[in-house]
């Protein structure tokens, strides 16, 4: 008798402690946020975004703008690194638990097609919304459009800039004009000279990352996939030229590879590079080094030699806002429509503070864009970048963009280790074809 009772008591204690543990989870956190993601239809929206200095800052400003007309409105911003956003979206979609989704999430343009195609259930479309997509550049809207339906409001513009340290160039006897409308060959020649005279490389970047090569590729209107989404890694004249150029620059020390993203940022902040070629969003990181104010200038990027369709314009990164079918679609699309797709005032605030260059064309007519930027020696860089943006050739991403990119990274590593470029790229093509099979 006694034994059973004790056993029962033990079981009770166990289940009680389990229950307590479960409760402390519910009680310990912020209950408002749980309600919001549950889609109760109140005036709060949950959003996932990842950069406090950039897209989260933009959200906070957008919240203020929207609150002017909707005083009860509130944003619950959840800082989630991009890789985590992807992991969580995959987990939620795969387990069918879409009610755990936020109301809005930010997505890298390069990953948009992949997610829309594989997980249509986590997206609500903008068919019933007032967002006027003709007010965005077609090439940017294309990232988040699938089968003629819009799934995303474009946020930041990935237009690439060549930003250079005027003080370092001056030591070597150059100005930013020497870097405007040039080819990568010319860039390499000048770069070697700058390196010899100042000891600083022209560019830095993450080892094993295909960013720079992908930018070169897009500048010539080329891509790793054709219009039907088939990989075109072999017999890709632009890709071969880009890899060759990249290799020469690394070889010469004009391009220094570092390990990680933050090491890369540090080379900029700590004056260990004379220049940067990247999406315009990098200007936010550049400006974080207050002591370098007035020492930067911006121009377009070099172009590939001897490649058909080569231009001095390209893009890297960029992201768009997606909304989820969680019951708050109407409010979410109203919010986006009134801010990211409809408020000049909003863009006027976030542009100078964070370098968030609008894709929304009407914003470009604002005076803020032509204001001289003190950090960049008084150059009105945003007006300049808008003229670049209009020239950027479009880019096919498709559902297998990351497979393609990774395969090219592997090929580059192999080529640096002595593999014949043709053979390495054939292997990359085979890898992507395998992944798609």
């Amino acid at each position: 008798m006694k034994k059973t009772r004790t056993l029962g008591a033990l079981g009770a204690v166990l289940s009680l402690s389990l229950a307590l543990a479960a409760c402390s989870g519910g009680g310990g956190g912020d209950d408002d946020s749980t309600d919001a993601s549950g889609g109760t239809g109140d005036n709060t929206l949950t959003v996932w975004a990842w950069d406090p200095a950039f897209n989260i800052y933009a959200l906070e400003e957008a919240e203020k703008v929207f609150q002017a007309d909707n005083p009860d409105f509130k944003l619950e911003i959840v800082e989630t690194p991009w890789e985590d956003v992807q992991t969580k979206l995959t987990t939620l979609a795969q387990s069918g638990e879409t009610d755990q989704l936020p109301d809005i999430f930010l997505m890298q343009n390069n990953a948009f097609q992949k997610n829309v195609i594989n997980y249509p259930d986590i997206f609500a479309d903008f068919a019933d919304s007032d967002v006027d997509f003709s007010e965005f550049p077609e090439s940017v809207v294309a990232y988040s459009t699938y089968e003629d339906v819009n799934y995303g409001v474009p946020f930041d513009n990935g237009t690439a800039i060549g930003a250079y340290r005027t003080d370092i160039l001056e030591q070597a006897g150059y100005t930013v004009d020497d870097f405007t409308d040039i080819t990568w060959d010319e860039f390499l020649t000048i770069g070697k000279d700058v390196l010899a005279k100042t000891g600083k490389p022209m560019l830095t970047g993450q080892a094993g990352s295909a960013d720079t090569i992908m930018m070169m590729l897009q500048s010539a209107g080329a891509s790793l996939f054709d219009d039907e989404g088939k990989p075109t890694i072999t017999d890709n004249e632009a890709l071969l030229a880009a890899i060759d150029m990249y290799g020469q620059m690394v070889e010469a020390g004009v391009f220094v590879e570092v390990n990680s993203w933050d090491e890369y940022i540090n080379t900029i902040v700590n004056s260990n590079t004379a220049g940067v070629v990247n999406g315009v969003w990098i200007s936010g990181s550049i400006q974080s080094a207050a002591d370098q104010s007035g020492k930067w200038a911006v121009t377009n990027v070099p172009k590939l030699d001897g490649v058909d369709g080569a231009t001095n314009y390209t893009a890297n990164g960029g992201s768009s806002w997606a909304i989820t079918p969680n019951g708050n679609e109407a409010l979410a699309s109203d919010f986006l429509n009134a801010t990211f797709a409809g408020s000049t005032e909003f863009y006027d605030t976030i542009l100078p503070a964070s370098g968030a260059l609008a894709n929304w064309l009407p914003a470009g007519e604002s005076d803020v864009y032509s204001e001289p930027q003190e950090f960049f020696g008084g150059q009105p860089i945003y007006a300049d970048v808008l003229t670049f943006a209009a020239e950027v050739p479009s880019n096919n991403t498709g559902a297998y963009y990351y497979e393609g990119r990774d395969a090219v990274s592997v090929a580059i590593t192999n080529i640096f280790n002595g593999t014949d470029p043709q053979a390495a790229l054939e292997e990359a093509q085979a890898t992507v074809e395998f992944a798609m099979g």
Binding site: M1, K3, T4, L7, L14, E83, Q86, T87, T90, A93, Q94, G96, K114, I117, N118, Y119, D121, A207, G208, S209, V256, E257, V258, N259, S260, E263, N266, N272, A399, Y400, Y402, E403, D406, S409, V410, A411, I412, T413, N414, N417, E427, A430, T431, F434, A435, M436, G437
Partner: protein, 324 residues
């Protein structure tokens, strides 16, 4: 009290539990088998919560993964594969799988023996009767195990950055002329991962060896000394055989840990450069979460890992037995 019937699979336990001597006083009132059955039942009650949880969080998902591995398609649009074993067939054609698997084996073959050897030497030194400040040495060497994987990956990345501490020191001591991009080249990046693993796990294994050494029957060591065996001979012929079970356990756990290694590959190098430091578990993660998601294939990869671990464990047990 109504005694529930014992589970049918419990026939073997109707014999009294080991070491149990039935008390004459009780056996008069209650039949022997009833006591045994009730005790056996108590045993089952005690172990079922833990066992059920293990089944729930490990085996149940793995059974689901088995069905998943027979399906094909992207995202949530899955259909039964044609033929059913298609995903397993794919494994043999997958260059990236082959690359990540061989990288994982490189880590395994280089790191595990070095780690176990160093741990064994350290454990023997710490067990020496003449050693002073034992607590200090042991604590200091074990301390890395208390650091989280994310934390230590961050510190190691900082140390092995291109303009990081490792380069600074090596140049200062004249061992290097120029900065080396440790994590940017296949060979050195793999080396950094191996160093990281050694740093984090050697002390852990050392504690287990040390514990086993302290359990060794001192009289056997005395006997060897009397027979005139030197220190090394005593270690090799007397100590080692007694340590075999624990070496085997550590070897199996380390092998298993290496094949499932994800954090180091993900946080230290993110698999780069060019996937050459990526482990097979990291590849499994990428197939599921980074690439266009292919969960059927990912499940097949996980079964491949499971089978390889099982085979290696079986080999290790076999080899361990033979040395007897």
């Amino acid at each position: 009290m109504s005694a529930p019937t014992a589970p049918t699979e419990d026939r073997a336990s109707s014999a009294p539990p080991r070491g149990t001597k039935l008390s004459p006083g009780r056996s008069k009132r209650v039949p022997l088998s009833a006591i045994a059955r009730r005790r056996s039942l108590t045993g089952w009650t005690f172990l079922i919560p833990a066992a059920a949880l293990i089944v729930l969080v490990n085996f149940w998902p793995m059974i689901q993964a088995l069905f998943l591995s027979l399906q094909t398609g992207r995202g949530t649009r899955l259909t039964w594969a044609e033929p059913l074993w298609l995903n397993y067939q794919r494994l043999f054609e997958d260059e990236t799988f082959r690359l990540t698997l061989s990288t994982t084996f490189i880590y395994l073959i280089i790191q595990v023996p070095i780690m176990l050897a160093i741990a064994m030497v350290l454990a023997n030194l710490l067990n020496a009767p003449w050693l002073r400040f034992k607590g200090f040495w042991r604590t200091a060497i074990f301390l890395p195990c208390a650091v989280g994987l994310v934390s230590y990956a961050l510190v190691f990345r900082q140390i092995f950055a291109t303009d990081g501490l490792a380069n600074d020191l090596l140049i200062k001591f004249g061992l290097l002329d120029d900065n080396v991009n440790w994590l940017g080249q296949t060979g050195t990046a793999r080396m950094v991962i191996i160093l990281g693993l050694l740093w984090r796990w050697t002390g852990y294994n050392m504690i287990f060896f040390l514990a086993a050494l302290q359990n060794i029957d001192r009289s056997t060591l005395e006997a060897a000394r009397v027979d005139g065996a030197n220190g090394f001979k005593t270690f090799w012929y007397v100590t080692m055989p007694q340590l075999k079970p624990i070496i085997l356990l550590c070897a199996i756990l380390s092998t298993n840990g290496t094949l499932q290694m994800f954090d180091e590959s993900y946080n230290l190098t993110n698999g780069g450069p060019g996937n050459t430091t990526m482990t097979v578990s990291h590849y499994l993660y990428n197939v599921s979460f980074r690439n266009s998601p292919n969960f059927g294939y990912a499940a097949a990869i996980s079964y491949a890992i499971l089978i390889i671990v099982a085979i290696l464990a079986a080999i290790q047990l076999k080899v361990g037995d033979k040395r007897d």
